[in-house]
Assembly symmetry: D2
Homo-oligomer: 377 residues x 4
């Protein structure tokens, strides 16, 4: 009776990075199987992937439209259940929209679209169809960012006052950065912003996810340090929140020597929390009246509800793939519950996170274009 959830993938062709991560994450818990895909832009590339992924050639399609249409016509016992979208930003909207229109659920890489208008259209379509839509903001699926969210909600640090997120990486520091990076600074594929869209949105999403606050205004200074680029490779952004809290997002893709140095600190009235992606197993709690605590994934101090997204005992590190896996697991569980007619509450980021991130990007770009004037989302 029971069966695996069937995934179709768009993107993730030969040499692609993020598509491979999606596939490993989807496989991890044994609840999802990849049944079809349109991995690359040519027939040849798709045949290479069919071979590599041990898929039937006929289900490795030349275009996403072909895939979606053909799968829609397959009998229910065969056709894919959802589409994983792992292409460059510029195509997310049409692929996701096409999938939704044909009745397929969607897991989509972030940033959701090229602009807020597209994101809102997707949001409307999701609402209209009642289909599931997960946005792959993986950092919000680490057990210790979930713990952070839960502790803030529980009042552990009082009321948040100051929030600081920094994401620094060095891969675009050189004038001849790696191939994979190229489309990211090309407005045709990336949209209105590069660094802000790529990693600034990670900072924005994780801040709103963990604190439950909304950014209301930004003042931004975008810079293109490497000559010849059409988009920003660095950004400094000041934040104001609906609660009166303040914040800073500092992101750079020309931060020579940094890998993926993503850190978040939230200072509240009675304590603070700090999380760092490169040491994701630790959540640091500081207060003025107690010794510093390091809450570790899997150990005493972790809230029981976080356990659902933990796969190994404390001290046996989990990481990036497992965080992706948590979103796939949650998504698969939601689909299974739906098939079985059972209630289920998802905790993955969704299309609303996508609308927020696009509003954020647009406000940041507008502010920077107006020499940093405070600009509402």
């Amino acid at each position: 009776m029971k069966r695996r959830i069937r995934m179709g993938m768009v993107g993730g062709g030969p040499g692609a990075f993020i598509g491979g991560v999606h596939r490993m994450a989807a496989r991890l818990d044994g609840k999802i199987e990849l049944v079809c895909g349109c991995f690359g832009t040519t027939h040849e590339k798709n045949m290479i992937m069919a071979d590599e992924l041990l898929l039937p050639k006929e289900r490795c399609y030349d275009t996403y439209q072909q895939m979606i249409e053909a799968e829609a016509k397959l009998p229910e016992g065969e056709r894919m259940d959802f589409v994983a979208v792992t292409t460059p930003n510029s195509t997310h909207f049409q692929i996701a929209m096409c999938a939704l229109e044909h009745g397929f659920h969607v897991v989509c890489e972030k940033p959701i679209t090229m602009n807020a208008d597209e994101a809102q259209k997707l949001a409307a379509k999701v609402k209209e169809t009642g289909l599931l839509f997960a946005l792959m903001h993986n950092y919000s699926a680490y057990p210790m960012t979930r713990q952070m969210k839960a502790m803030i909600a529980a009042g552990t640090i009082g009321t948040p006052r100051k929030i600081v997120a920094t994401y620094d990486l060095g891969w675009l520091a050189g004038t001849n950065a790696c191939k994979q990076a190229e489309w990211r600074v090309n407005p045709k594929f990336s949209g209105a912003a590069a660094c802000v869209g790529d990693i600034g949105t990670h900072a924005e999403q994780l801040i709103e996810f963990t604190t439950g606050l909304k950014i209301t205004e930004v003042a931004a200074d975008l810079t293109t340090f490497v000559e010849g680029r059409l988009l920003d490779d660095d950004a400094s952004i000041m934040l104001r929140f609906d609660s009166g809290a303040k914040g800073v997002i500092e992101v750079s893709e020309v931060a020579s020597g940094e890998e993926n140095q993503f850190k978040l600190r939230v200072y509240g009235t009675t304590g603070s929390l700090e999380w760092s992606q490169q040491e994701p197993e630790n959540l640091i709690l500081r207060t003025n009246d107690n010794a510093m605590k390091t809450i570790r994934r899997g150990w005493a101090g972790m809230l029981p509800e976080i356990g659902a997204f933990v796969r190994t005992p404390a001290g046996h590190p989990e990481g990036f793939i497992e965080a992706f896996g948590n979103i796939y697991l949650d998504f698969a569980n939601a689909l299974i519950a739906r098939q079985e007619g059972k209630p289920y509450t998802t905790s993955y980021p969704d299309v609303e996170d996508g609308v927020r991130e696009m509003l954020f990007v647009e406000a940041v770009v507008k502010s920077s274009n107006n020499n940093g004037v405070w600009t509402k989302l």
Copy 2:
């Protein structure tokens, strides 16, 4: 033509920890599929697992003998290729031997057997049959322990002089430690040693793996701190190596508050290397005439050959499951090459590592029983 490698599993029933890790690791790269198993000791438990793992009920067997015999009779296009052994120590020998005798390759949890005699019998059988046998010493499959081995072999730290490994965890500190821990201090299931067999062998294997040296003598002091236990829960061990190097292994399962604090330091004539399992992405190189270097998985400084066991870019953490996955990946690649008649050099720990770990355990126990006298392996 191409197909996934087919795995049968013994062990890993409801609530088991390590069997689940084996399954996730085997799934990760999409080269292996679980096709059958004998997961638990009762029919009922196996039916629970059939349901959970979406396996056909008829391939979830009541005993490992039934499984091995039945699978051996299946047509080649259906039957399992190898057996993953994830049961308590006491049964590894007979299961692995039975699998080998029926022509199945084996992936076996460590420690390999209950004693050196059994390990040597398995080694002989592996030699005789020419079948593949991987021993799950996962720590030796982290990219940065591979890097450590390669750098030592390349002479980066000169000649090793002093080697120190410590593995401390707290889960047996209490008098009523968790259920899962119980069989580990029971000689019927664990053999001659508990803490030494469980984590001392990790230290021994990783030392010999990374340095290429052999331990020749040990002087040991085993202790049972928690009353009522029949086996050691703590050990201090001094080491002498074939090269004249010296060493220390300090392991404890009553180290209150520690998770899996496994650290290895190797001091050579011109430099030293340090690795710590809880931060597995870092390998620290220290010398007297240069600043300390932290070699990071995936970043500049990592040797190119390590790349084969890396799945995500630097700064996006990989961990425990990925290390297990590296052994499964290597094992699957070896089987595929074998099927295709292509040459392949494995790098996974094998039955010889199993013989060494059993000789080590026996020498340690003997030394401790003789009040710490130096005892040859």
Copy 3:
């Protein structure tokens, strides 16, 4: 012939923190002796300090004017050589000016004065008199910040592009913060800014000191989180530099649970450097084409010229008092050289650093008052 340099102190009375640090730092190397002072605002307090510091009562004066005038009249072989100013900000200007006018050299706590006008007057007076003036920006006297400055000057990281400094502490998080903190949020004693003057200036000075760049414009958002305060207790500041570099300063005194979390990162075209005050012995060098290096105080990799400010071997930690001591040592060496008619090049922060910090504070306050408009220094 040779003798100790004689110090007179203003400030540092019973219960004061920073005055005590100045005294320990001045003592450390045995080149300076405290000979007189006006430590507190009452005769009684000064007599307590005379007793505690084993000073003659007659040289513990009731007012700084009395002290400076009386000491000026003492024979050359007895009178103080310089005045250490360790009072609240509001009095720095008049004390330092009075000392200079009477021919005394000055070591002054930061921030130098209440505003840029006062700082410029002091700078003019220093120029006019040719007297020595050291400003106690202690963070720039840690060996590893000196190393940072030297490496940037040498081009180790190429051309700086992005500079990020954060200084977070929690002592003003509560509504009833400690006594010592009170004057710091009172404009009468602190000037136009509290948090920005207190720790923002540390960030600004260390940035300009280590990079050699000048901040040309700021866009700032100051906040007073704790009700009833007249000055900021938190600030977010974006920076533009004369070279085209960009930056962020984020400082907070309501960062619950933080001690003195002061961190500086400088990203250049070919590498980056990171220093953290709470682990001041480390300077981290990251590049895209090499493993991360941690340059440690006293170890190989430290530049030879830094050795002059190192007192213990690598691995034997030095800290805050030693950094203060480095400024006193440099100052004492300069005075000795002057007495002996020998050339000497000082490396301590001086009155020009004071002018810069006041211009910075004024621009930040002005920008924040104008809703974050970019404002020139």
Copy 4:
């Protein structure tokens, strides 16, 4: 009435390391002044030091005997109060004995003497004379090792079971190690052991100091890795304690690339504590039923009584010199109390710690000479 305590120093001549640290530490709090010394082995060296330290030439003596005899004849208002012994090990005994016999208190570098017999003679003389004797085991004077002792005494981690101390440094790794190191591997100056005497005693003393336990037996393996040395440069030692606890000391002076990597872990029945000299501001508390705590010097969680040895606020690092300073401060306070006829309880390590360290060294050497047989102290 009140005055500074007067120190005479033996050792600490031109180029010496530890003598300089003693002088900085003694100066730090302004309670001690150096009044005389016999710093080097020649008149010329002593005159250099007189000049450098601004001491009267007539109080810089050619021999320690001259110094002690001459000072003893000075009027009470002038003569030194105590002798600081900072020479190589071989001369500690006669200098300290001579000082005690002439009525002078003593601060002595460790290890106390060349053997247990000498140490016991000193202990008897201290008892007989009632004079003060501090042994410079500086690691036991860090605020966080004091906190560790206090927490263990209070039962915070239950009953200690396993104790592990490691001290690794690299300065003797090369065949031509630095000059200063030479006398340390020469039995004429160092005694029966080099590495064990030099750093093994630090480990032993800090273990007994913090836990309150006594080592009863050792099994040791000493090694001389660098050819031509007459003494050990590396040691592995297993420990048994009077309480039934077990332990390991691992020390090496050929640990290439290590600075002063001294770490202590104590595992008790209900928790554990870890301290590391290179990050001395942290004391880590781990338990099985709570999140890890990092108790920081000066912050909430530090016991109030530790405050007496704290000079700067939390987050402003203190280090090695301050720890030495704590012993001098305690010693000076004890002398002042004695002069004033007031009661005072010292907490510095004393002559009894010296007897213990010598018994330890002798047992270790004896065990190693007997191929590691368990040997009683």
